[in-house]
Subunit: 74 residues, 2 copies
């Protein structure tokens, strides 16, 4: 029996079966931001929005959500 | 000469050439809402937003723009 016999004969598992479940835990269903709305803006409106978001160090999406939350419309 | 001769011999024009330029006039470049932003929301956030928009008889897009305008972020 050669030294590779155990490698050859061991059970083959899929990546998914071997993989440890590390990383960020799954959000539950009601916390998922899986709904999308698209807002059409002029170039000037978008530019201003991007500047305001950047001043706060936020992405446009997070900044818009924050603004809508403050106004209690989401 | 039969009575259809004038129909047969008249100049053929394309639809575009014949068409009168009616309807809504073109917006100029800076007024066009040709920039899109997409906002990710939870199901609850989206539902609330849709309800708020509907109460005011506005589409979600118009309502969000109005809210962002009021907050002077667009």
């Amino acid at each position: 029996m050669n030294k590779f016999a155990n490698v050859i004969t061991r059970e083959i598992k899929t990546h998914t079966a071997i993989q440890k479940r590390g990383g960020r835990p799954k959000k539950n269903e009601s916390e998922k931001r899986d709904q999308k709305i698209t807002i059409a803006l002029t170039k000037d409106e978008k530019r201003k929005l991007e500047e305001m978001a950047e001043e706060e160090g936020l992405s446009v999406g997070v900044f818009v959500r924050k603004t809508l939350k403050q106004q209690e419309v989401i």
